[in-house]
Amino acid sequence: MAVVKRSVSFEAEVWSELTAAAGGGAFSPLVNEAVAFYLRRRRGLAAVAAYEAEHGAFTRAELESADRGLDQVGVPDLTSAQPTRVARSRARTRPR
């Protein structure tokens, strides 16, 4: 598979967590995997939006039903996981 090399910048605390997560391994596969995962979810949500545009938007009741089904079997909400120190710091300093 073709690869491209680019220079990217990270916030220092994010980089610190990344190096710990990599455990001495290579960073590129880790970053590539994270970005690919992000793009996959983005593409997926765009496809859901296209589905709803054609077949009708989901009602609140439909979405609550889906949430109940996922909650009953313990599907976690990964987007509400404990924020990193950087995110917590941002939340504290964010202007109202």
Binding site: R41, G44, A47, V48, G69, L70, V73, V75, L78, A81
Partner: protein, 150 residues
Amino acid sequence: MSRPGDQVAGLTYDTGALLAAGVGDRRVWRLHRRALERGHAPVVPAAVLAHACSGPAARPSSPASSSAWSPDLLAGFLYGCGLEVLDEALARHCALLLNRAGTADVAAASVVVGATRRRDLVITSNVAGLRRLARSVGAQVAMIAVLPDG
């Protein structure tokens, strides 16, 4: 191994989920939306994709699927999914499971092996079949049923 009621790590789609998506089933599409919004990218085992795309014989004939089959709908559904490759190690694990269970459904076996390893919830129309397979190796898999069998 995942047990119904415990927290699961992610989602795996069985053939029934893809077939339901391909006929525009609202239940599976809204589960898909919520899964993506919760930060998951559901997994589709390669054998499941092959089964779902194999032709009319694999497609549902229940009243719930009265809408026409649409390859474009399935393609859109798959945009948000990750494909699990059926490599040699997984194939051998599936063969072991099928041998113990006395069946030959490779797609179902790949769902059980992968979902058990990842502790995934499985979206399926084949709850009984997957449960039999899982029990043959002493495993349990959390499942949500979509379109009925057949």
